[in-house]
Structure formats: C-alpha cells, structure tokens
Symmetry: C2
Subunit: 205 residues, 2 copies
C-alpha cells in the first residue's frame, strides 16, 4: 500500500535514510544490500530506487544530513559566550565538537564515514574526510595565528605546529572514541585531554 501525499513520501525517504544509517553502522556499507535497508524500513527495494538513484546516491544523502562545518561551530561559540581570546573560543569550539559527536545521529554518521565504509563506485570516503580535515585545519590555523600575534602562545610554539598538534589530537581522540565508545568517556577523559593540551600551549608568565 503506497504512501500517497508529499509529506508521507518525505517521511518514507527519511525512514529509509534512518534505516540505512542503522544498518550501515551495524554491518558496514559494503556488506549491506539495498534489500536489507528497505526491509529494515518496512519497505521494498522499489521505494529505495524511487527516492535514490543507487547506493552511492543514498550514501551521499546520508552524509548531507549531518554535515557541520567548522566555521559555523566557531561562530556559534562566539555568539553564545563572551570570550575575546581566540584560544578560549577555539577551546570551547573543540569541546562543543566533542559534545556534538556524542549525539547518536552524528556519532553513527561519523563512525560510518571513518570506520565502516570503503570506497565504492564514485564514492571515496578518504577524500571526504580530507575535505573536512583541511577545512577544520585552515580554521584552526587562522585562530592560532591570531593568538600568536596577541602573544598568547607559548614561546617557540608556532601557530602552524599548534594547529597541526590540535588537529591530530582531536582527530585521534574522535577516532579512538568512535572505534569503541565504551573505552572512555568523551565528556570526561576527552575534555580533560583537550583542556590539558590548551593549558600546555597557552602562555602564562
């Protein structure tokens, strides 16, 4: 019995994406068939092929639902708090990122992108990861340069190295946690690591 109205159709589209997200997360992208996804959403493959061109198209649609650019996170911090130090803004944005990635939806998507998909058809997850990372890196470097000009960084700590260090640490933290969320708490140990790193980088006479 087909859904008819526009709203209902949109609902099944979302249901299919939700289903894909869960099944991808549980079984990996390569191992899940469109049949599995459809069944998990209470539909058949016909519905999938109606809403999406193919598996790759569905995958793109999945990622589009959760993308959160770095710059927006910085802006968000600046809007909601009144710190004027770039280092503090950056630190809060990082903590913010950790919190976001704990949300089930965001967490599943990132886990899929990082650990549960290889390249297939026209999709290269490594390129996607790279885009995210480089964008993030650029934003961080800008803040660190600003902090450097203000003399807020430890002497002999170049903005470039600082941004690479933070980038690596954050990336590693998220990788590790997504790989096994039970191993440690992002909100406790994770924040502690980030705060510690900033404390080490900040110049205090």
């Amino acid at each position: 019995m087909p859904r008819r109205t526009k709203a209902e159709a949109e609902a099944t589209r979302e249901a299919l994406l939700d289903a894909a997200e869960e099944v991808f997360y549980d079984n990996g992208v390569a191992r899940t068939s469109l049949e599995q996804i459809a069944r998990h959403a209470g539909m058949t493959r016909g519905a999938v092929y109606w809403h999406f061109k193919n598996k790759a198209d569905l995958f793109h649609a999945l990622l589009d639902r959760v993308r959160m650019p770095f710059e927006e996170m910085m802006d968000e911090v600046r809007d909601t708090t009144d710190v004027d130090s770039p280092l503090e803004t950056l630190r809060l944005a990082c903590l913010n990122g950790l919190t976001r990635i704990e949300q089930p939806k965001s967490r599943r998507i990132h886990a899929i992108l990082l650990h549960r998909c290889e390249f297939f058809s026209d999709i290269n997850p490594l390129e996607m990861q790279n885009r995210l990372v480089e964008e993030c890196q650029a934003g961080m470097r800008e803040q660190f340069r600003y902090a450097h000009e203000l003399g807020l960084l430890k002497p002999h700590l170049s903005p470039d190295t600082a941004s690479r260090l933070l980038q690596a640490t954050l990336g590693g933290l998220i990788h590790d946690w997504l790989r096994n969320p039970e191993r440690f708490s992002l909100q406790e140990e994770g924040r502690e690591v980030v705060n510690t790193l900033f404390r080490l980088m900040r110049y205090e006479p």
Copy 2:
C-alpha cells in the same frame, strides 16, 4: 605451469600476499575479488584457494606479516641509544614509529587496516585496531607514570592524561598522514608535532 618445489610454492604464497596487499590498498578489501588478486600475482584463483582457506584467512595472513608490538619498539630504543629518561625513550620510540610506518609495506598494511576495510565474515578490523591501541596505551602510561615519579612531567599533568594525549596525537597524526601522504611529511611536520608535544609536557624549571 605449476610451481613444484617447496620453495617455489612458498614464493607464490608470498607473491599472492604481495598482490593482495597492493590490490587491497588500491581498491579496498570489499571491492577486490580473489580473482583480481590471483591475476595480479600471475596466478588463478585455484592457487589462492590452495594456500588460503578464503578471503578472511588471506587477510589474517596479510596482517601477520607486519605486526610490530609497542614494547619491542621501546626495547629497541633502549638497546640502540643510551638515554636514561623515560620521556626521552618514549619520544624516540614515537619518532621511530613514525619512521617505520613510512616504509611502503608497513604503510600499506596500516592504511588497509585503518581506511580500506570494513568488517566481513569473522573479521572485525575495529577490534584489531583496539588491541593495538590498548597495548600501546598501556605501555605509554607505564612510562609516563615512571616519568611522573621522577618529577619529569609538568605539574598538574597526570600520567594518565599525558598518555591519553600522546596516544590521541600519534593516532591522529598517523590517520591523517595515511589518508593522504602528500598532504604533509611525517618526517618533518610529523616529528615536529611529536617533539613539540614532548617539549610542552616536560617539566623544566
């Protein structure tokens, strides 16, 4: 034309593993068929099925060729240099690790494990990664505790946090680099990041 002697058979086994390594690296594990691997080694699937039970078995054999435990790296450093500070030993071991992972063989295997395989049949790459990481983490924590007792760590920097920080940074660095080795040099920027982190953690009156 079948290979006959034991040595020749062993050679084709290695050739098959080499082929698998390359094709897995280029196309991902899921997307490569045993046929592709065999052809790439100048053989047919029959040879593969003679030497390995199936794809999963071949995959295990691949990983077994390059495993390098953390403890051994620490021992290696202690043997070849004469530093008595745990922090220095640790730092050198890390730099050592960066150098090792640049070797084509090691680099390909790790890239496959981190970025080019999802779970399939009885294989769960995430578990394998976890084993490596936890083992490494335990070793680092031990060294940091020792350094802490000797008063070598910055005040307010707990050994646990320090080890988590280093672990995350190293992991992130390696992830980032393996994802796109052209983006930066492990030997230059990578070492610089590690050295900087140790400089920040070390206590110097």
